[in-house]
Assembly symmetry: C2
Homo-oligomer: 362 residues x 2
DNA sequence: ACACTCGATGTTTGCGCAAACATCACGTAC
DNA sequence: GTACGTGATGTTTGCGCAAACATCGAGTGT
């Protein structure tokens, strides 16, 4: 330790755990339309009209009502409004985890798109059933105050988690395969993988190894499938697949195994985080990237361009996926139709410094 | 290009943009308690009692009602319930961006804690006012169907975004400084920074450079302040500060500038993403880490252990921050008290491979 | 000058639910 | 046998809002 003490005394604002209480302002019944109406000397209906911007209220009356609203601090009760209108103006997003970049970025786009449409987003994390018997509070999703649901997970996991979607609520699915039952919006996993593998083959590599995601993952399967098909279509050998769990640490482990294979000159990694770990494993094993081994990732994280070396990867347009999910689900809600089928969002390869011609050519 | 065509034809499920429509099932008025009551041959009130698990319903009646519910697919209308009870069982989380790891991880913990308490989370992204005049749909936060709000941003940004918190709603703030007005839960930024700087000084570095976050950020200020104080308390020179915007790319830029300073043997970086870019900049400049330059980050991302080299960093317990936010805000809601004051969540230094004794000792 | 139109505003009503209160059928005490 | 308690169930009511309908007054055409 050096000489400084804790610095707390100098920064009282953040460190003093002082708790002041203001007395419970006792059941302050919230001001209702009737209160505003009384104050403004009009009927409740007129307040409603002003509140909703309906026409047919003369300017003088309108401003009198607005003044009353401001003085009383009126804010409409959305429960009552929802009860009347039957709509909550809210979309539920069900997901397993916020731990993956894809989910988060998609959620962000969903939230932004929904806000632009005047909808709020309710996030519903469902727990893996690995937890002891106690399930999350949302086994009864039916009670959620949402008009529609976007499922940001694989459909079959719903069963695993022992939750069932409420009937009569519109659903759009991302990141899964259920185009026969639901409207699905997804990244074009297959085409992105094809681009990645072809890029490596074009560089002269005899074949391409693959570090896949977890076995049960739909996205991981899609990417591995497309990798295999592309190799087969080009008449190349299909090396055994390595599996990770999407984490950088699992990428490191798999990378140690791959580094040991002398024939491994090119790796297509199913996401950028695992690619990060793989890069470190190759570095530790003395295999240079890209001189000895070329690496392509999948996702294009904001920081992938700062890896050592900057990572060539498949760019996913999470924002577009989110936007389309919202557009689709709102269309279903508004038009009252239930649609099925899959819409794919294109991907594109971003070439950086982690890929190079095969050592020795071919 | 190699020989493969697009693979689409082989994977019809994900690629066929077929849209089937089922006819709008016309105003399917949702089944209400009255419907269930009629079916079960009881009164609506009895249905209500069963629905809420109230005692005083004989077993035979109860099961008759439950059967009717199941047959009709009844699910309670949360709008009506909220209208009666005055509570939505929902907490709003207001944030600027889901682009920072801290926000996301905290949000995740908030969602999990809230779910455990039977509360849902509504995410409200507010837009930076840099957008042309059009503000988000949530300028009128007052209409949100929430019982309380957790503010995951700096309070003063509310003004910047021209939104104001609805009166009468309980608020808890994270990642900001407003302990005089609100209950605040925050990471102990100052102590974490102190640990980082002292660690570097203990390793024999004459002083420590700092790559700070954006100037307007509260967290960035706190970390820079503590860095400066710790150096001053140890009687060391305080080098000029570099600034980034939290992104890895900005870390690279700042790293290029720092790499040019011969006296720079130790850098405390305000977050791990910038540290990633800084590592690459040092590498590109031929400065070895940790032999020539030691680097300490802040956050401890899941992948920070896979950087090249694995990053020594300050671990933030985002999950604990989230949990405390929920606990605090629910306490305020349930007990009807408004509290102020700040609670700090401790941090700890995680030592990995990016720090080493100063070159040449001192 | 009269009937009539039309815009501004007020009144009634019911959304689904759950407290509060009412009723009803038993059983028990004396 | 009468009175009364007890527990199960039914009835009434109103939460806050906004459609639907009612009313009212001022203008318009002839």
């Amino acid at each position: 330790m050096t000489t400084t003490d804790r610095l707390d005394e100098d920064v009282p604002a953040t460190t003093a755990p002082v708790v002041t209480r203001t007395p419970p302002v006792l059941p302050v019944r919230r001001v209702s339309m009737a209160d505003v109406a009384r104050r403004a000397g009009v009927s409740a209906q007129t307040v409603s009209r002003v509140s909703n911007g309906h026409p047919g209220v003369v300017a003088a009356t309108r401003s009198r009502v607005l003044d009353a609203m401001a003085e009383l601090g009126y804010r409409p009760n959305s429960a009552a409004r929802a009860l009347k209108s039957g709509s909550f103006r809210t979309i539920g997003v069900i997901l397993f985890s916020l731990g993956t970049t894809g989910n988060v970025r998609t959620l962000e786009a969903i939230a932004a798109s929904a806000a632009a449409e005047g909808y709020a987003i309710t996030v519903i994390p469902v727990e893996a059933p690995t937890q002891d018997g106690v399930h999350g509070a949302f086994t009864r999703l039916g009670e959620l105050a949402v008009d529609a649901i976007i499922l940001l997970m694989e459909v079959h996991l719903l069963d695993v988690a022992q939750v069932s979607l409420p009937p009569g609520v519109e659903v759009v699915v991302a990141d899964s395969d259920a185009g026969d039952r639901y409207a699905v919006v997804d990244t074009d996993q297959a085409d992105g993988s094809r681009q990645a593998v072809e890029h490596l083959l074009d560089l002269g590599h005899a074949t391409v190894h693959h570090l896949a995601g977890p076995a049960h993952s739909f996205a991981a399967e899609r990417r591995a499938d497309a990798w295999r098909r592309t190799l087969e279509a080009a008449g190349r050998a299909v090396p055994p697949v390595e599996h990770g769990d999407w984490s950088a640490a699992s990428g490191y482990e798999a990378g140690r195994r791959l580094a040991g294979r002398a024939d491994c000159t090119a790796v297509f990694v199913a996401n950028d985080q695992m690619a990060l770990g793989l890069l470190r494993a190759l570095h530790d094993a003395g295999r240079r990237v890209p001189e000895d081994v070329s690496v392509v990732g999948f996702d294009d994280l904001p920081e992938s361009g700062e890896f050592l070396p900057p990572l060539t990867t498949v760019h996913q347009d999470f924002a577009e996926v989110g936007r389309r999910c919202v557009a689709q689900v709102l269309r279903q809600v508004r038009e009252g139709v239930h649609e099925t089928g899959t819409r794919l969002v294109p991907t594109r390869l971003v070439r950086r410094a982690s890929t190079a011609p095969a050592p020795g050519g071919r």
